[in-house]
Symmetry: C2
Amino acid sequence: MLEVVVVGGDACGASAASSAKRALRDGAHVVVLERQQWTSYAACGIPYWMAGHVDGPEALVARSPQEHRDNGLDVRTGWEATEIDPQGRTVTAVELATGSEHELPFDHLVLATGATPIRPDLPGIDLPGVHGVQTLDDGLAILDSLADGVRRAAVVGAGYIGIEMAEALCQRGLTTTVVDLAPAPMSTLDPDMGALIAKAMAGMGIAYHGGAPVQALEAGQDGRVARVVTAEGSHDADVVILGLGVRPNAALAQAAGLPIGQRGGIRTDERMQVLGHERIWAGGDCVEVRDRVTGRDLHVALGTHANKHGRVIGTNIAGGDLVFPGVVGTAVSKLCELEVARVGLRESEARDLGFDVVAPRITASTRAHYFPGAGPIHVKVIAERGSGRMLGCQIVGQAGSGKRIDIAAAAIWNGMTVEEVTSMDLAYAPPFSPVWDPVQIAARKATGLV
Amino acid sequence: MLEVVVVGGDACGASAASSAKRALRDGAHVVVLERQQWTSYAACGIPYWMAGHVDGPEALVARSPQEHRDNGLDVRTGWEATEIDPQGRTVTAVELATGSEHELPFDHLVLATGATPIRPDLPGIDLPGVHGVQTLDDGLAILDSLADGVRRAAVVGAGYIGIEMAEALCQRGLTTTVVDLAPAPMSTLDPDMGALIAKAMAGMGIAYHGGAPVQALEAGQDGRVARVVTAEGSHDADVVILGLGVRPNAALAQAAGLPIGQRGGIRTDERMQVLGHERIWAGGDCVEVRDRVTGRDLHVALGTHANKHGRVIGTNIAGGDLVFPGVVGTAVSKLCELEVARVGLRESEARDLGFDVVAPRITASTRAHYFPGAGPIHVKVIAERGSGRMLGCQIVGQAGSGKRIDIAAAAIWNGMTVEEVTSMDLAYAPPFSPVWDPVQIAARKATGLV
């Protein structure tokens, strides 16, 4: 019987374990070691739970430890893996409740150790009331901090989590301030598109301070966080949310001598096998993935990739031959009614990488201009001059805007030119789109410039 | 100076004329002959005008004859082209108001003569109160028929226009019956998906009678239509809408000896040049287009294609070299809250064409299952066994379902397999999608079967 040990019971780990078990059945004993009490949960749902739109934490759990056990997995919550011996093929794990140590042999090891919110080395960063947003326990801790009398919140960083948490805190009735290093929110978009988001934040009453690096967090008399100090001034805050991105949890792998990439993630091949270690697999937020646009390795922490990694790993452990062919950097979010999405390279990033690009921006309508509910949609397309290849796309607009990024994602995935995107057969009817889809209007404008 | 004559001033014609004029400026005299008083109008908006959601007819006009004239086009409304001499390079046209005939020389001729609703040769088909839906004048005529005391409507045919008009008439408060030859509505979808639409129609109080070929339309005492008689029974109706599809207006081209395809449309090459006639171009609803899935020539009457044809033709007349690379049969519509979309081959159609296919159907959620507003979405994927190539996709579901067909359209356009679609980097966030996009859930299911 194959011994499969999976470290981490969230998206990638649970999915790898389930796929392997489903394929191998009684031919495998699949152990899942999970430090927390939760498995298969939707970390990306936490801001909506915080906002009160969604119940939590149970509703965010897609499959509980017991449900996984009912499917034949040996799930051990409250267990933490502390050491890997790649040659001896064992994992050492500790039961956190008792401190007792166990050595588990493996034929296949899956590392799905996730990521941790970045906590910059600042004075006061460990004060009570300062929270990252990654696990359901983080969510519970934030709710605890919000419990009584809290009126002012600050969010450090204006990426996806930062924006979503700012919206959530604002909707809970807190006076909310966002401080950010970058000049405009959502630095995964170009600043001209980010400016549209800044405007929407202002409309919601969220104070945005860009270009304001945080220097310290200061405590009040009760010893809890009370102020965020930036180079530009200081902002009172009874609770502080860190939205500065996440870092791969790769220490366990690194200590075992597994290869770590420049972005700090574990390095794997397309089959999600750790480079040079044919019995060890890794996926989810702890690995680096290949960017199909540039060939670079990136760290992209997203549940959708983690789930795909899990499927690939579980299937391959069971003798299959699946690959994860990389990413194109697709992401979507929203700030109340405003939908925000991006894919591929930003204009500035493309130039920095040596691409000669055109980057037109258009404003169109989400539906036929005469159709009720039509709203503005802004689309920016980045294309390589000469070849016309689409390199990036950014969308900010009203309902119906965000998922349109999938058109550009599919185009970039397939290496299409802006001329071919302009020609594509996309769904048209007045309630859904103008006669030229807004993404095609932007692509068409780019055809005139490349 | 180049003499450009364009026959037809709607989507393709006006767009071709505008593109050519914009590129050639004073180097071209561009005449647009349009039989009606309208140019550049959105025929696909007519059902929503009829429903009262949209003002009409002016609001459906994207650019009026005068606006086109202001842009330098010589637009002649109320002029009908009656004869083409390809060798002598002249078009004969009649001013309808006076009957006076003119001969116009051309260096380039554009045929954008559109299509006409199919009127089967049935007793009573020409009775007052029986309407096709194609032009703004049709819309005005329908409103006229609905003017006073009309309570019962019948729609013949349950394709896109049939469904949209049934919804519109129902929303106007009319008792609405749909009779259809096919067993389920929307025969561009497989019957199992069409059944979901039939259920929604029943929920709206629209009576649907499938498998009921119409035998005659009967008049009442006032000489207007009063009844639709089918093989299954007869249905009282004060107004009857024909939703049986459209037929290309190719008679003018055919009389001039231009090549006509098996579907009745004018045949062109990829540059939209009429085969064998380098000075004559054709596009929009009067031509056939290449299906990229099968290589067959199809007749697909859609404003989005017509506009693209116009851009290609206008640019090529001005010395450019654009192509229209074909279609994959993408379409979207809605019936109240239910969104319906399709692309590529149906299951039965694929089998008839000799493909060995798998065709799984899944039900998923439009958003993360825990996110407010998440609704059911049904996705069917048709894939070739062995190669795994995606051949078709159909979607029926709640808000946020329809435009997801663009994912499948892009996949089929690029010849992707269901495994690669499963791997694609699509936009994910809880308000927009479950962690696996529903199209990917269906594709993933297909991977297990191919």
